[in-house]
Symmetry: C2
DNA sequence: GCAGTCCACAAAACCGGTCTAGTTCATCGA
DNA sequence: TCGATGAACTAGACCGGTTTTGTGGACTGC
């Protein structure tokens, strides 16, 4: 038999469509007895409301969107992304909400996706990753009225819900650890300079360095292993040579480790390495890499909660604090041997 | 002003709703002149049809689903998954179709998701990954009438669209290469034995070994770095020691490389290593890993095309052939030095 | 005893599209 | 000259829910 509709259920229960709808959504208007009877029939017939009909009636889709403007190549190697999506999706599922995914070329295409989604009522809200300085997406989402949650730390004054990742504290943790080991000349191999969190890390490292009396140099890259390797080569050729390197991603750290070995530097004896991101990779290397570790899955869940709140009350931005990542010390760091 | 509806557009153009719908969908029933006028107004007002209304009318959602029952931890490190999704999504976008993603614990939960999606009309079709032996999902999808495409090579007799990845040919490539180098004792560290492609690889390797006169042993694992490392340790302890190892994933290959180093085996002098999967990882290692490389992004696009065809004609399964992966020889393989 | 409330439900409008069954009018062939 | 044909539209049913409005009966307070 064809898929039953709410009318079939209503007929079988001897009530109107409205009564079934009320019973199903736990709203007043039906007696407990009738509600129970209706729900039993629903259960027995395995009926579920048609998502499109429901979306049309109440104008909410039960879907949120995530657009990634990262190059497809970078996408998989960074476990961060997949972990975040897993957590996000788990958090959304608890609310019966699905996740629509989109991968695009650049920010302009990303904006176009948001415009489409809003015009077609495809999603109830979106998650914003990789905040830029300045970020045109926030204003545009505000203009088209699409609820959103940003992961990071948007410029003050921007009205948008945010799960704040405290990169400053994390950065300070690394700086203090290296300073405590006795390192004084540090090179920071950072990511894309257009990203807010890259700038924040650079800024935080600078100010921590000033406080701790460290000399810090920074190179920005596009997060690729190639540029990470090139930057490492340059950093190790410069005089005076740094005794420790900080990498913004574990992939670059792995590439950097390879370069160091090629150049005859023994890690950690001649050179200490710290990564801003942790994953199986950092654990698997020889030597294994000291890294900042965070529970990305839990972060995703938090973003999901934040987004659900924002979708429910779009006019009042929510601000949440992500837990501060912990430094996991492994084999790649040691006091300098000079 | 509120979002315009098709009625607003019709009013402005001085035609009926039906005419606008026809013009928009490129169907006959309106003159070229009128069509042009309508489309101009649509463009100027930036109107887009409401996805739910459209879905309700024509009962198609413009969405396909992908469920992953892999553990969340494994999910990110394997670049395969992200690459495939990127390609899949790109291929779907060309048809104006979106991708809904779901991560679940196990196959039972995955089946439940399919049932929900079908009952609620949430997606037009789904993509099936990691085929099992036997795979309960195929029969269930058939039962609930949800169009699907499988990636791999389902058991004969199962009616389902498939993008066939020729693991046999790929496996033979590896075996012949190692045989040509002069290796005779090979250990294969495989993935989950419940996966069809794991079995296929094991089988293909056995038969290739028979033909080529190789001695092949196999250990199955859960794809994790931990089990990969343990299996490597066991393989290198056994007598006679294998002169070459084949890993089913690059993550396990990396773990295995580490174990080999710990045990004092120099790669490739004392031991050759080949990986079934290629990614940045395999390139970054020291020594870099010889690996089977395939264009996963293109594979995703192919799966998208296959799914679109299947959704259009659900009763006639489509069978496509994925391109055979190429062996990329790097530093981890060499003739045995005995 | 009776108007006023409240409850439980039915009936119908509505969401914003698609699609079918007419209707009108110009064109064509005999 | 007139019916047949078909192109170009219109009107309205329809998709399957949600939400509003209406209604009969039980219960309340005075």
């Amino acid at each position: 038999m064809a898929r039953p509709t709410i009318a079939d259920i209503a007929r079988e229960a001897g009530v109107s469509k409205g009564a079934v709808s009320f019973a199903l959504n736990g709203r007043p208007g039906v007696s407990d007895e009738t509600r129970k009877r209706i729900l039993e029939i629903v259960e027995r017939r395995q009926w579920r409301p048609h998502s499109a009909a429901r979306a049309l009636g109440r104008s909410s889709t039960g879907l949120v969107g995530l657009v990634s403007a990262r190059p497809a190549r970078t996408l998989g190697v960074e476990p961060f992304f997949a972990q975040l999506i897993s957590g996000l999706q788990a958090g959304l599922s608890a609310h019966g909400v699905g996740l629509q995914l989109m991968v695009v070329e650049d920010t302009e295409a990303e904006l176009e996706v948001y415009r489409s989604w809003a015009a077609e009522n495809r999603v109830d809200g979106v998650v914003l990753l990789d905040l830029l300085t300045p970020d045109p997406r926030i204003a545009e989402l505000d203009r088209i009225g699409l609820p959103a949650v940003a992961l990071g730390d948007p410029a003050r004054g921007q009205r948008i819900s945010t799960v704040v990742a405290d990169d400053r504290a994390a950065t300070r943790t690394i700086a203090e650890y290296l300073a405590a080991l006795g390192h004084t000349r540090i090179h920071h191999i950072a990511g894309l300079p257009s990203l807010r969190h890259t700038r924040r890390r650079i800024g935080a490292l600078k100010s921590a360095a000033d406080t701790l009396g460290l000399q810090v140099a920074t190179t920005t890259t596009d997060f690729s292993d190639t540029e990470g390797a090139a930057a490492t080569r340059a950093a190790l050729t410069a005089r005076p040579t740094p005794s420790a390197l900080i990498f913004d991603s574990d992939l670059m750290a792995v590439a950097g480790l390879g370069v160091a070995m090629e150049m005859g530097r023994s890690v950690p004896r001649d050179l200490s390495i710290v990564s801003f991101d942790d994953s199986v990779l950092a654990r698997l290397m020889h030597p294994s890499l000291t890294a900042l570790s965070r529970d990305t899955f839990a972060l995703g869940e938090q973003v999901a909660d934040c987004l659900m709140q924002t979708v429910a009350a779009p006019t009042t931005p929510v601000r949440m604090q992500a837990s501060v990542p912990q430094l996991v010390v492994r084999e790649s760091t040691t006091p300098p041997q000079s």
